[in-house]
């Protein structure tokens, strides 16, 4: 029995790095400091695993050798005119880098889950920039914490205690010295913890932010109510933001994926920027998958752009809406795919998912996901951060090393190795 301390948790964008695991017989039997989501993963990662490479033959997925699966994947990608390499939000940065290289080799698209979560944040950043900070800054200084369109209590269970309202920092001793505001369309479990809950009318976040900016400038708002709220309450909130010492706006998919999308982020950044005339205010997206931030970073330093990069020209090209996986599928433009550590069939819109089923694709995943069930090739991989080493970026872009806590099942490779094998096979076939 061994106890391993300070493990970085490979679940959500919080990347809590204080997990303690007890390992017996190459199995994790006990975890400490984990939230419920994390504990479930650490204690059950080995269950319901697919341990054999599968290739579709006569309409059915049949177990094959790894060589055959890799070979078939290489063929699919090589025969395609416009393949897409997609996923990697739950992979280490090392696997992500090989993914970009593979996309470049086959002249395809490299894209990731950003397309269905914080793509609008990237577009907002292009337009307005992003005044932000690391989470420790919030812990030490923030006296006003606003969550907008984020049910952090369920998506990022330890966010409040480790990094924000309930954390203990150098200049703020805890929950009592801070104000917590939650803005959402309904009273979520997170909203119940707030000092102030603002129920914004669905789809009217943009209006509310505009009104807040007006109220900050002491402009008259010639309406009785904005976004379902009395104007007095909007002005009150503006005053609260203006008069804090250090404020932070955490926002989730409630802002990025509701009406307005990247315009919402434009407005949110503008609001925070305006606030800096009176006080210190920062903004931060609540990134979901544990290393989706890392995928944006890797893609950016290797190709210049954070997601949806088209490498078919021989150099990187970027045009979200045109080069995004969802849009390519919707228009039926891509003709093959490799999907790594992601389950798009379960998450994409119906017509997009239907089109995915029409093209041949391979899946690399520890589990038999819904996407895997409809795939041409399935390759099982190790859990990075539990069964394989790597590195990842926290939602505030702090990089952390990922640890191998236990050995993967015999014969199971990391996604980094698998993508590398595909790349190698394609290169040797071309020579």
């Amino acid at each position: 029995m061994v106890v391993i301390k300070n493990i970085v948790c490979p679940i959500c964008g919080c990347l809590c790095d204080d997990i303690e695991a007890t390992v017996e017989d190459n199995k994790i039997t006990k975890v400490k400091n984990s939230c419920s989501v994390s504990a479930t993963k650490f204690l059950n990662y080995y269950k319901e695993r697919n341990l054999s490479p599968l290739v579709r033959k006569n309409g059915e997925l049949k177990p094959v050798s790894l060589e055959e699966a890799v070979d078939r994947t290489a063929e699919i990608l090589m025969n395609a005119d416009f393949p897409v390499i997609y996923g990697f939000a739950c992979s280490g940065c090392e696997a992500q880098a090989v993914g970009v290289e593979l996309a470049e080799e086959v002249g395809g698209i490299i894209d990731n889950q950003t397309v269905t979560c914080h793509g609008p944040s990237a577009l907002g950043l292009h337009d307005q920039g992003m005044p932000t900070c690391t989470l420790g800054e919030v812990r030490h200084r923030a006296d006003l914490i606003v969550y907008w369109g984020s049910n952090f209590q369920e998506s990022h269970p330890r966010h409040l205690a480790r990094y924000s309202a309930s954390s203990e920092g150098r200049f703020r001793k805890g929950r009592k010295e801070r104000k917590l505001v939650v803005i959402d369309v309904r009273k979520t479990p997170s909203a119940r913890l707030a000092d102030l809950f603002i129920p914004v009318a669905p789809g009217q976040d943009y209006e509310l932010m505009s009104a807040l900016r007006m109220a900050l400038q002491y402009d008259d708002i010639e309406e009785e109510s904005v976004a379902g709220l009395p104007v007095e309450q909007v002005e009150e909130l503006a005053e609260m933001m203006r008069s804090c010492e250090f404020g932070v706006l955490f926002y989730g998919l409630g802002l990025t994926m509701s009406r307005g999308k990247e315009r919402n982020i434009d407005m949110a950044v503008s609001l925070v920027r305006d606030l800096n005339k009176w006080t210190k205010f920062v903004i931060m997206p609540m990134r979901g998958h544990y290393n989706v931030t890392g995928m944006n970073e890797v893609t950016a330093w290797q190709t210049g752009y954070p997601y949806a990069v088209d490498l078919s020209h021989g150099y990187p090209w970027y045009s979200p809406g045109e080069t995004t996986f969802t849009d390519l599928l919707r228009r039926g433009e891509c003709d093959a795919a490799l999907i790594v550590a992601s389950d798009p069939l379960a998450h994409f819109p119906k017509n997009v998912a239907q089109n995915l089923c029409k093209i041949p694709y391979a899946v690399i995943d520890p589990h038999l996901s819904m996407t895997a069930l409809a795939a041409e090739v399935v390759m099982p991989c190790a859990f990075t951060g539990i069964e394989a080493e790597g590195s990842a970026y926290r939602m505030d872009t702090v990089p952390l090393p990922l640890r191998k806590v236990v050995d993967p099942p015999p014969g199971i490779n990391s996604d980094e190795q698998l993508v590398g094998m595909i790349l190698h096979t394609i290169r040797s076939k071309r020579r």
Binding site: K5, N6, D17, D18, C93, A97, E101, E104, A122, L125, H126, D127, Q128, G129, M130, P131, T132, C133, T134, L135, G136, E137, R139, H140, R141, R162, Y163, R170, F171, F246, R273, N276, T279, K280, F281, V282, N296, E297, V298, A300, W301, Q302, T303, G304, Y305, P306, L311, H313, G314, Y315, P316, Y318, E389, S391, Y393, T397, V398, P399, L400, P401
Partner: protein, 573 residues
Amino acid sequence: MDLLIKNGVVYDPLNGIDGEVMDIAIKDNKIVEKIDESNAYVIDASNKLVMPGGVDLHSHIAGPKCNVGRMLRPEDHYKDVEPKTQVKRSGVGYSVPSSFAIGYRYAVLGYTTVFEPANPPLKMLHCHHEFKDIPILDKGCLVMFGNNWSVMEYLRDNKLDECAAYVAWTLDATKGYAIKLVDPGCVEAWKWGDVEFLDVLWGRPEAIDKPVPRFGVTAKEIVRGLCKVNKLLNLPHPIHVHANGLGTPGNYQTTIDTMDSVKDLAEEDKPIIHLTHVQFNGYAGSDWITMRSGAHEIMKYVNANKHVSLDLGQIIFTDTTTMTGDGPFEYKLHLLTKNKWTNADVETEEGAGLVPIHYKKSNFVHATMWTIGLELALLAKDPWRIFMTTDHPNGGPFTHYPRVMAWLMSKEARKRTLDKISKRARSRSDLDNMDREYSFYEIAIVTRAATAKILGLKDKGHLGVGADADVAIYDVNPREINPSSDYKKVRKALSKAACTIKDGEIIVKDGEIVKSIEGRTYWVKPNVPEDLMKAMESNLANKFRDYYTVEMENFKIPDRFITRSSPMPTYYA
């Protein structure tokens, strides 16, 4: 493979060679006395300029700031692409190129060693991630300490030894190379948006004597403290300082005061403080209307005091991206330009900010900035203590270096630009009256020999026996050409090396990349007396829990992330 570079016109200032026709022999990755010519690959360098590979000590090439720059500016990338070839990965970016492109473009310029000047310790892994993807170049990273809570507390409490141990531990844990200070003390104040404090600091000389709120230590004490720490640890590079009040009229006095604050610590004639991108810190006047150059005052001090070295931070008239650990300055620049703005404060340590900018000839302030950089270089009596940089990409992308070299080498080149800049800026500047023109020998000093020396890289920046086989060959005959009038030809030749050799391998031929190899990562491994380190470390674990949101164990960067790791041990004084 053995290489023989034959009959080149060689400039090797560290060995006193000033344009001699000679052969350079290379065996494996080192320069040697002699090789068997019949077994060697011979490069005919007759009538060509041969210099050591370029060494850049201040260029923002990797790390969190650079990557935010890439994400901030897709419009910067569309206009400048780097296609994939048999040996090259693809890339994009004009002022903030992607990682692979950085390596190739530097190699084409004949540069082989480049140092990234500013990363916060907490995000150093990001820097090493990007280093892995910058091919060819040898690299190292300067680590920011000027607003670090622990450093400020140790210095406030007069615990210099513990401070040294802490800096040594951090450099070792994050695989950094030297101590960088960015706007010491002020970034901490900016993290509160403490505008009152910053108003006082921006451009006022008395500022460096004002205690940082909540920490009770002044900017001057931080500079002096870290300068002493640097000496205690015997680090190869002096403290590298981005002085307070950057980008503010009147700041030249702050720059001089900062240099003067460590004067009494100097021994021998060695620089103990490096002031970086001094152009941005060299403004006289009291506002943007009365602004003028402070280069004369600064150079008067620098010429008389050997404990200082500096680099230019020359600006280029172009569209570029400013990025610095100086968060408050970037906010100010955003207010001035109304351009998009990114801020990135880092807990317990430092901050950063980015704003795009377009330097225009017609703009009085930009034109004045342009004159200041060149004035600094032309007024310098000792080229060994002044280095050519554009503070890439703050003054302009490094790909414009040959343009700066041409301005330094030719009065006519300067005049051509002077004719086009703001008349008010021209009339206030002394540049028209400066006749000095740099020689090829001096260019070799300010772009490789002196930079390698100040970085403490003994095997770089020269072509003597035992040096690393990093060589640049340019298609221009310095014995025949007159750079003063033929500056365009010189600029063109320096823009595309006829041949760049790195570690004994031919990387560039006729301005094209023909091979790509991995570069080294230099970092220092300071040895500190065991009991001192133990005493400091016993406190450190608790401190981590109080100050950071990561565990001490996860802060240390494992060796597997370091590309061609080249640690340099140093010993406690």
